[in-house]
Amino acid sequence: MIRCENLHVTFNHGLPTEKLALRGVDLTIPSGEFVTVIGSNGAGKSTLLNTIAGDIESTRGKILFADRDVTHLPATGRTKDIARVFQDPLAGTCGNLTVEENMALAYGRGKRGSLSFALNDNLRKIFKEQLSRLNLGLENRLSAEMGLLSGGQRQSVSLLMSALQPSSILLLDEHTAALDPKTAALIMDITSQIIKEKQLTVMMVTHSMRQALDHGSRTIMLHEGKIIFDLSGDKRAGYDVKDLLQLFAQARNDGEELDDDKLLLGE
């Protein structure tokens, strides 16, 4: 379970460039729930995710995993609970290490690195098994350098890596946004499989309203650092992209049109 209580994040505090990125976010995500997060550019989606992951420290408010207060725990201390996949396919893996070395790193996530060998035949077997799920032939390229793989392949491996070590929370930050539609669909497919299999609590930031409604069981929309609506259950099931837009306009209540094309486009 993730709980955010009155979460505030301010960048450049006290400077002319001060930005209130999060302005009092209250959010409780029960274990096993899959929440999709939408919002226009600068709404605070990524800030929320990065704050939960510990990359950004909150200015005010609390973050709890289950009943454990992690507000002041640095990112590395939260990796026992959190697995992440980034938007940039290059960000989630080390380009000059091999596929198996990258996977070994993810396999050791949240543990202290010991002085025993990072790779062995047993691990290679596990990695091969996992890679064969992708149907990309990567199971035969364990010792290939990660940098030689395509963006889609790297993102697929990042996704597998996030599931190598048991964790309770998976944070996906627009992890299909940089991929072509076919690869994006494949990645989304494997994402759903992994989430189901491991019964993860998931937050997925996406730019596509379609994707937000098609996946998970709950959708929240952020605007100017606040949650402006929170949809779930039957109400959400009946919703379409159009309804979301309308809801957005209502929530704004100031007649301003949604100007972010990306939200409307995307598949």
Binding site: T76, C94, R109
Partner: protein
Amino acid sequence: MSLFAFLGTLEIGFIYGLVAMGVYLTFRILDFPDLTVDGSFTLGAAVTATLIVLGYNPYLSTLLGTLAAASAGIVTAWLNLRFNILHLLASILTMTALYTINLRVMGKPNVALIMEPTMLTPFEAFGIPAMYMKVIFVAFCAVIGGLLVAWFLNTQYGLAMRAVGSNKRMAQANGIVVNEKVYVGLALSNGLVGLAGALFAQTNGFADSTMGIGTIVVGLAAVIIGESLFATRSILVIVMSCIVGSILYRVAVSMALNADFLGFQASDLNLLTAVLVALALVFPKLRREWKAKKAKGERV
């Protein structure tokens, strides 16, 4: 080249093989260009030589010299990580400070070890001529050092260090404490360089305040030569190629200095080194450009 000169070349080559491994750890593994080594090479030699002269056991002295050099690496890492001083500048600051510290440690510009016991003294009883013994000893040290470094880089901890140098954000997302790896990496790197300095002082019979000048360039030259010889992903081969690169570099330099028709003097060493390293750095890029040009020409 005479046999004697050749053995001397080998000896220096093996010693600087350790330097090259240290440089490989910072420049290649951690992506932290560290110039501290110019000072820590001397520091390792100065501390070791001074302690030996004071009557301490040469092995203990060498260990302490190595640790002193390692701590110099920690200072550089601290300046960079704690105060955000650019890594190059942080290392230059430490290197500059070390020049004074080395003079203070020795109390004078150089310390002679000719008549003192060294790490090699116990082996003199075997009756092997000293000039062979020295080479065998430093070769043994370099190879053992290389095996240890290669083993370390293949452990979970070492792999985490490589991840830090490759992609900090990914490392962090996988629970790796980045700063700790940088501290350990710089300590290891400078420790290796300090050990090389200590060995140099004992095989050559002196420690001198200026002996470290250019260490970084020589180390880098060895790393680059080694890399261009072996295109491999095996860490063991890469680390060992540091030793091979170091020896080849020494051979190349001594041949250039000895070839009478070239007219070089011993004092031309640093210019030769700089030119050699520049060539080694430029060559891969030029080769790529030639290839690209050729491919273009074929298409037209």
